[in-house]
């Protein structure tokens, strides 16, 4: 959901096509089907998805930073960066959704009280793989 303010600033400064549905009306965003970050051999479902992250950055830069910039050169460069981010977001949106059935099955089994030997080690390795993407330096703290 983008605010009316967002679209007001966006229309003022955006030199290209206005993206679809710039209605300026706050409508709850449809919950997209989860896309999954693949790392190593494991499929891990996580939100925000890559394109949702790109969108969050875009909103922050266009909605909160752009209006504060007076320097023409910086404004221009930020618009170019937003354009690039838009490309990135659309590329990411083209990725095929992946299947998180295995993680769901594991989560459901643990919920039902079935914890096979070795489960903790496996789960920890899965989380470590997610951290390689989400916060690689965090692993140095252990």
């Amino acid at each position: 959901m983008r605010s009316a303010t967002f679209w007001r600033h966006f229309r003022e400064v955006w030199p290209h096509e206005i993206p679809a549905n710039p209605c300026g009306v706050a409508t709850p965003r449809q919950v997209a089907s989860p896309r999954h970050a693949t790392s190593g051999n494991e499929t891990v479902s996580e939100r925000p998805t890559p394109e949702e992250l790109a969108e969050a950055i875009e909103e922050f830069l266009a909605g909160e930073i752009l209006p504060t910039l007076d320097d023409h050169r910086l404004r221009f460069r930020l618009l170019v960066a937003l354009n690039a981010l838009g490309i990135l977001g659309r590329e990411l949106a083209k990725l095929p959704p992946e299947d998180d059935a295995e993680q769901r099955a594991l989560a459901a089994a643990i919920r039902a009280g079935t914890v096979e030997p070795g489960t903790l080690a496996r789960v920890k390795a899965d989380v470590a793989r997610r951290l390689q993407v989400n916060s690689p330096r965090y692993l140095d703290r252990y």
Partner: protein
Amino acid sequence: MISEMREALEALLGPVSEPVLLAGGASKEAWAVDAGGEPLLVRRAAVGVIHRHTLSLRDEFAVLEAAHEAGVKVPRPVLYIEDLDDREAFVMERIPGETIGRRIVRMDPVPAELPLQMAEELAKIHAIPAERLPFLVEASLERLVDELDEVDEPHPAIELGLWWLRESRPEPRKSLVVHGDFRIGNLAVDEQGLVGVLDWEFAHLDDPARDLAFGLVRAWRFGNDELRLGGIGDVEPYLERYNELTGVDIRPEELDYWELAGNVAWAIGCLTQARRHLTGQDRSVELAILGRLGAEVEYEICHLLETLS
């Protein structure tokens, strides 16, 4: 809006300075205002807030009053206002001191008395009579499970944490009034130590060991991982002081249990905070990224489970 608010405040408090917004946000605003030379803080609801698992401003104000009466170091509660420019609000003293957790753990030196002072404030909080605050509800593991189910994302690490918490629950202690979010980031601290306990919106009834252990969660150590008590001290003197003051005998193993419970709660908290962004309730890149940083807390859950089993 600022002039309407100032007018409404002046009708209640006499002449006040122009309100300055300190922090916005989807759920609450904080405004600084001075009345008769006294620095005050106005906590005001944001538009369309749904109170789920947190207290309304009216109830939070009542808890603050009860804590103040019980001698807990808190900002002096001044006034609850049902309608401050169309929204609920309350006014309290604006106390000095550092409130940013990351800066507190990097104070040079961190006040030596701080761990014991934290134990002393907790002892006073837990002595607040529950009858005084009849709206407080009992916490439960099931509520956490419900919150996780609403997120509808598979998180085996969190499930393992919940499983262990169900299997290994210590003998429950009598539920007491607890702060619910007692950690370094919710304290005001100066060179002498603890100035005030802030942010009472998570107050509820619970095992007192839960409150003692919440500040041990690694995420609240702000990088000072080796100091288990919120990155500022060791646990033993803190626990000893609490037991001495209250006459109970909370054991270190209970803190281990509740430290894991605190991590599980915060891992789920990261996911629900990210949902505030994803559903459009409160668009913010900081909330969005919590959905990914929750993996840090899940790793800590696994680490703790390794040490516990």
